[in-house]
Symmetry: C2
Subunit: 388 residues, 2 copies
Amino acid sequence: MSFSRGLCTVSRLAKRGFNGYRRLPSRDHRFPALIQTDFAGPPQTEQLDPFSLVADELSVLANRLRSMVIAEVPKLASAAEYFFKMGVEGKRFRPTVLLLMASALHVPLPEPTDVSLGNAVSSELRTRQQCIAEITEMIHVASLLHDDVLDDADTRRGIGSLNFVMGNKLAVLAGDFLLSRACVALASLKNTEVVSLLATVVEHLVTGETMQMTTSSDQRSSMEYYMQKTYYKTASLISNSSKAIAILAGQTTEVAVLAYEYGRNLGLAFQLMDDILDFTGTSASLGKGSLSDIRHGIVTAPILFAMEEFPQLRTVVDRGFDDPANVDLALEYLGRSHGIQRSRELAKKHAELAAKAIDSLPESDDEDVQRSRRALIDLTHIVITRNK
Amino acid sequence: MSFSRGLCTVSRLAKRGFNGYRRLPSRDHRFPALIQTDFAGPPQTEQLDPFSLVADELSVLANRLRSMVIAEVPKLASAAEYFFKMGVEGKRFRPTVLLLMASALHVPLPEPTDVSLGNAVSSELRTRQQCIAEITEMIHVASLLHDDVLDDADTRRGIGSLNFVMGNKLAVLAGDFLLSRACVALASLKNTEVVSLLATVVEHLVTGETMQMTTSSDQRSSMEYYMQKTYYKTASLISNSSKAIAILAGQTTEVAVLAYEYGRNLGLAFQLMDDILDFTGTSASLGKGSLSDIRHGIVTAPILFAMEEFPQLRTVVDRGFDDPANVDLALEYLGRSHGIQRSRELAKKHAELAAKAIDSLPESDDEDVQRSRRALIDLTHIVITRNK
């Protein structure tokens, strides 16, 4: 259920020697390199590794994050830094999107401008946008810490969850601490619209989690409820932080809305794929995933679409999934339905809408801007083609 | 351990028609009654019921708070509003202090000013200051919700704690929700210094709670550590929100610091008294309190002072208080020491420092301002003479 999952297909492609014409620095080749596309064809889509484009900046950001979460009290310090330590920072999907968005919306200062002054302004803006990326990660990790307490989870990012390792109390406190640090960092940006946007995200994360925890039978069988919950739990953070990037850059409302729409649709596509992969795992066959959602009684898009074809599936859903036989029965219905396929189509639709938002941005001749926009569009493909 | 404890005598007095003008401090009375003093004498200390001065405004504020914490999802809504419902709002000590501080720092607009314009400006400022009082309550209640989860508490304000009634999960989520609403409300004030101040308070609350939870033997026996923890857990919120009241009013740094110092010293005095009452309860005799702190292994001022007289008490403290015999032994040492008396003196010292901060404010001829300042000073007496 996390953005940080499932992006390693990219690394596998990279290992195969996926090589192209404008390879950008990619230290360990974990992510796909640029591909030489067919220049004879219609509009070129130069494909590049979205992650490598911002790799250096992500390292700087990771270091800064580690210094931002230092707490005075040793126990709180270890708890708060837990998921910011080298090696367990996750794939940093959100910061990648946000830094690319920052570049994609870059407006070079009009000539004639004193170059050094222009650079200083650009660099100050970039620092503020990096701060949004850092705040977004802090809010994300805070929500993971609290979610893991709520779900009694024992692992996260391949290591023990914080609640498992240091206990529920410290996990709750560390989450609160990260939220307060995020709020302090937000305040330092001195832009109250941005503070308000990101504070609302925290509210959305809580709302989404509560919606998932406390469903009536009707709600559990409603696609609308599912999509709303998905927006709150997954898409709100990336959409509103993308919007914040645009606002800090002083972009028009239209551009800010496009940045928001990109994030929203990318987030929804991501979560839909996550929910499909919970059934299929790395292969495309049903039942190969972890089945973690359904076993926890969480009903997602594939089952909801299957229910439209087989209304009798609803009684199975209503019985809950404590009984493994019931899980098998639901999987049987799902296998006979177009549930997986329709979920993929919906994910694809949202990925396309995300790409369309980028295409709708005001035109730019700037090469860096163009490259970043292509990278954002590439991310929409990566999200829906990933298989783990 | 909460500000809302122990002030109900005031409301009882108020119900009895506590509406007079002047009172004299008297240790024998729970709360000194108002007495009309002789106007012919030297500088009068007009004493009055601080709570009744802002009673009407507190009702408005309570209603607004209820509307501010409305959540979309029903379960979250009931959880979030739990401690804002009529009858369980607590004694609203913090809002009372903050509204009085707002009046105490009121600077009438210089003549000639268009009266209606002046009134509009005053009224807008007051609304913003009320908002600080509301945010402060939200942060306070959020911290209570999480603290009760951490402490496995089953009651609060005379009703079941939220975690007891609706479960830990909803209590954690409701706390997060209140923090996010507080942050949204903060952002709406469009003053980043104030956002930063109150976000730092959340960090302090978490830090204080962690300090209390994870003490080494040396820390548990250190008065300095105890006072630092007490500042974080209790005094930071009221001091920084008092400062925020001054900042919103556009006061000088000096005045903002005095507002902060008032809150800090009042908060420390309050908590010291709370810690004494945990031993003595309503009577003045040792062991008549709930002994809740010591039974939870929390070492407070009376024991720390006693330890200075009887260093051998430290080994008792180090053994912990799971064994009731150990509690009795500690009480015995405490009884033979001046621990309670010295704690009272320390509380008194902080109450006096709080009063001094008010006395150091720039002079004002305005009667409302003077009355509010006297009420703030009266609160310092109330805090140290309360016996429950």
